[in-house]
Symmetry: C2
Subunit: 444 residues, 2 copies
C-alpha cells in the first residue's frame, strides 16, 4: 500500500495552496494530492471562459505548480476514508495510507427544485472542463439566455454573455442583484451598469418552471411572465461537498460544512479541512458564516498547510473581502454591510467619499471611485467597506480588509499613510478611504 | 484690519487639505488661505503636463474646492509674520490678524552650483503655471533634452519627454536612477524600462558645465563626454521654504524644515506647519527624515487641520509610501529599503514573490507583479516593501503601508484577508503579498 506523510483530497485552490504551503515548511515530507479532475480549472475564472479569455482552456491551474515542488498528483476519486486505519480507498479499491490528511473537497452547485430543471441546455456551474465546454457549445447556438440567480456568479456570467451578443435576462428572488454582498446603493450602481450593458433584470421574481420539449424553450416566472430561452444557467449558490467526511463520521457544522477548530482541524486531530467544504466562522461574531470564496479558501489552506506539521497558525474568522467587475465598473466589499452589521447587532456610523481615481481628473482612464465605510460606534473601529470604481477597486478593497483585520480606528484610517500618484491613485487631498473616515468622524 | 480664526499660508496640497480638514470639524470658524499663485497646480501632476494630459492647464486644483466650503482665498504674498501681534503683513502692507496659523509654504527647487545654470532654456520644476508654460514652449522647439537628476521627478519628466519624441538623457550622480527610493534590483527594472523607452542614462556622472551662447547648447559631464542639449531640466530635489518662519524666529529643524512637535505645532503653539516646509520624522527611527511627498503633506494637513481647534491627532512619523510609472511599468515603495534598514541598524529578513497581476495569466492586460518585503528579524514585523508591476501597484503599495503602520507580523501578512478577482488581482494561490511573507517566514 502506498503511504504518504500528507494526503490532500481535492486539487483546486484549496488543495493546491494547502499542499504548496505544507511543502514550503517541510522539504522532506511526502505530499500527495488526489483529485478527480484531469485538468483543474481556475475557479473564479470560469465565467471569463465565455467572453474574455482567448480560449476556455486557458483557464487551467498548471500541474507544474505542484510537480515542480515534488508534490505527487493522483487523478482518481476517493471513495471512502478509514480514520482508524488512516487510509483512503480509491475508485478501483486501491488504498493510500496517510499520516495527516487535508480535506479540500470543495462544493457542489445548488440546484433549486424547479420543474424542468433536467431539460437539455439547463446548466449549473460545475467545475469540470468537459461540462463547461458543453456549455460553450450550447452558447454558440443560443440567442436567449436566462440566468437564474443575481449573485456574483450570475452577474459575472450575465455580463460575459452580453459580450457574445446574447439576449440575457437575470431572474433574482431578492429585490436587488448582489443583495447579499452590498448595500442597496451599491446594488443599484451594479444594476444600472448591467442594464446599460443590455442585461434584463427580473428581480423580486422566481422561475416557476423551465418549459421545453426535451430541451429548454421557455421559462415561466412567478410574476406570470414567460421568457423565451434556449439556454438556462443556474447560479444560486453552492453547498459544501462533505459526503466523504460525513461517511467517515467527522462532525458537520451548523451550516453544513465540515466542522473545524481555529487550527482548521476537524473532529479528528489528524484530519484538517479547508475551503468550500469546511465550515466558516465570522471574524466579527465568531458565528458560522455562509461565505465561500477562493480567497478564503487560500487563507485557510495557508493555515492548515502549516499546522499539519505542528500547530502554529490560528484562524481568526472570515472578514469577507471580494470584488467583481461589470463592464468597466468594478465593485468591492470588505467586512460588514449595513444590513449585516445591523443583523449582527452592531451600532455604527457610516462615512462616504467620492473622487476621481487618478489626479488630476483629466488623466487618461480616470474613473470616479466611491467608498462607503462603517465604523463601530463606541470603539470607532472599522468594520466594513464598500467600493465602486475602476480597476484598482480590487486592491483598494484589500486595503480596507487589512485595516479591518488590524482593528483600525476612524482616526487612524483618516490619517493612514497612503501614497499617491497621478496615473495610479486618487489625489492626496481627496483620497477616498481617508475622506470617508473623516466623514464618519464628523458624525461620531 | 481683517481678522480670521484660522489663517493658512500656502494654497497647494498642504494648505488646501489643512483648511478643508479644519472646516470639516468647525463649521463656524472663519478660515482664510493666502497664497501667491493665481492658479494652483496639482503638484504631482506637473510632469504629466508635458506628455499625458490633454492640456497643461488641466493640471489645476479648482478653487471651488475651498470656496464651496466657505474658505476665503486671498491671492497675495505674505511678507512677514508678527507672532506677538498675531498678524501677517501682505505685499502692499495690508495686515491680517489670526487666532491660529498654519504654515504651508512648501519647498523651493534646489539649484546645483553648476556653471551655466543661468543660461536660457535651463529649467527647474517651479510650481508656477506661467513658468511651466514657458517650459512647454521651449520643449516645442527642442530636440535634445538633458535631465539633471534621476530621482522621481527626473525620471517622470524624462519618460514624459519621450512621449514627445525628444532625445532624452538623464544624468545622475549615483550609480542608479531612483536609488534613494528603491533597492538596486528595482532600480534596475526601472532603468531597463527607461532604456526601452529610449531614455539614455548617464549614471555615476555629474554635469560639470552647461555650455551655450546666451542659451544652452551643450552639457559637459564629469566623464568628459559632451552632450548636445537645447533644453536642460533640473530635478535634484527641493529645500523647504522656511524664510518667513525663520524671520519670525520659529525654530528650524536639523534637516532645515520648520521644527514641529507630534501635534504639528511649531515652537509657537498658535502656529502649525505642514507639508514640504515642515521637518519630518521617521516612523521607524523617530529621527529627522528628508522625505517630501504630497501624500505626507496631506496627512500632516489632516493632523494640523484638526489640532488647530484642540489637540487630538498625533503624528507617528513618516513611513514613506510612494509610487511612480515609467511607460506601462509602475513601481511602488512603502517603508524601508534594504539600504535604509541597514543604515537605521535593523536586522531583517527579505521575502520575495512574483506572479501575474490577474488570473489566469491569459486575462487581458495581465502583467507580472513582483514584491519584496522586509521583516524585522526578532519581532517579525513588516518594515518595508517594494513593488513593480502594472497599474494596481499604487494601491498594492498602500496595502503594504497600512500593514507596516499597524505593525503586522510576517505570520499575519501571510494570512491577511485579501480578496481576489480574475480581472482585478493576482490569484488567491499566488497573491504576492502573502507569498512574499511566506518566503520570508521560511528564512526566519
Amino acid at each position: 500500500m502506498k503511504k504518504t506523510d500528507l494526503l490532500v483530497i481535492g486539487g483546486s485552490a484549496a488543495g493546491v495552496t494547502a499542499s504548496l504551503t505544507a511543502r514550503k515548511y517541510n522539504k522532506d515530507a511526502s505530499i500527495t494530492v488526489v483529485r478527480r479532475e484531469k485538468e483543474v480549472l481556475v475557479p473564479c475564472g470560469i465565467p471569463y471562459m465565455y467572453g474574455t479569455l482567448p480560449e476556455p482552456t486557458k483557464n487551467i491551474i498548471p500541474d507544474n505548480l505542484l510537480l515542480s515542488k515534488n508534490i505527487e498528483i493522483v487523478v482518481d476519486e476517493v471513495k471512502s476514508l478509514n480514520r482508524d486505519e488512516k487510509t483512503v480507498t480509491l475508485s478501483k479499491g486501491e488504498k493510500i495510507g496517510y499520516e495527516k490528511l487535508i480535506l479540500a473537497t470543495g462544493s457542489i452547485p445548488a440546484v433549486p427544485p424547479i420543474k424542468g430543471v433536467d431539460l437539455k441546455n439547463v446548466f449549473t456551474v460545475r467545475k469540470e472542463l468537459s461540462y463547461l465546454l458543453e456549455l460553450m457549445d450550447a452558447l454558440k447556438k443560443a440567442k436567449n439566455v436566462v440566468v437564474i440567480g443575481g449573485g456574483f456568479i450570475g452577474v459575472e456570467f450575465a455580463d460575459e454573455f452580453t459580450k457574445r451578443g446574447l439576449n440575457v435576462t437575470i431572474v433574482e428572488l431578492l429585490p436587488c442583484c448582489l443583495q447579499l454582498a452590498y448595500d442597496e446603493e451599491f446594488c443599484k450602481i451594479a444594476e444600472d451598469k448591467l442594464v446599460e450593458r443590455g442585461v434584463k433584470l427580473k428581480t423580486n421574481n422566481r422561475v416557476e418552471e423551465i418549459i421545453g420539449d426535451g430541451k429548454v424553450e421557455k421559462v415561466r416566472l412567478s410574476s406570470g411572465e414567460t421568457l423565451e430561452a434556449d439556454l438556462v444557467l443556474i447560479g444560486v449558490g453552492v453547498r459544501p461537498n462533505v459526503e466523504l467526511a460525513k461517511n467517515a463520521g467527522l462532525k458537520i457544522g451548523e451550516l453544513g460544512g465540515i466542522w473545524v477548530d481555529e487550527y482548521m482541524r476537524t473532529s479528528d486531530e489528524n484530519i484538517f479541512a479547508v475551503g468550500d467544504c469546511a465550515e466558516k466562522y465570522s471574524f466579527f461574531t465568531k458565528k458560522p458564516s455562509a461565505l465561500r470564496l477562493a480567497s478564503i479558501t487560500a487563507r485557510e489552506a495557508r493555515i492548515a498547510g502549516v499546522n499539519v506539521f505542528g500547530l502554529k497558525r490560528k484562524n481568526i474568522g472570515v472578514i469577507g473581502c471580494f470584488s467583481t467587475i461589470i463592464g468597466d465598473l468594478a465593485l468591492g466589499v470588505a467586512g460588514l454591510t449595513e444590513r449585516a452589521a445591523k443583523e449582527a447587532g452592531f451600532s455604527f456610523v457610516v462615512g462616504r467619499a467620492k473622487a476621481p481615481d487618478k489626479h488630476p481628473a483629466a488623466m487618461p482612464e480616470c474613473k470616479e471611485m466611491q467608498i462607503k465605510l462603517l465604523f463601530e460606534k463606541d470603539s470607532k473601529i472599522l468594520i466594513g467597506g464598500q467600493v465602486a470604481g475602476g480597476k484598482t477597486v480590487g486592491e483598494v478593497t484589500n486595503i480596507l480588509s487589512s485595516l479591518i483585520e488590524k482593528k483600525t480606528t476612524a482616526e487612524e484610517v483618516a490619517t493612514f499613510q497612503y501614497g499617491t500618484h497621478p496615473a495610479l491613485t486618487c489625489s492626496p487631498i481627496s483620497y477616498q478611504i481617508a475622506e470617508a473616515a473623516e466623514d464618519a468622524l464628523t458624525k461620531l
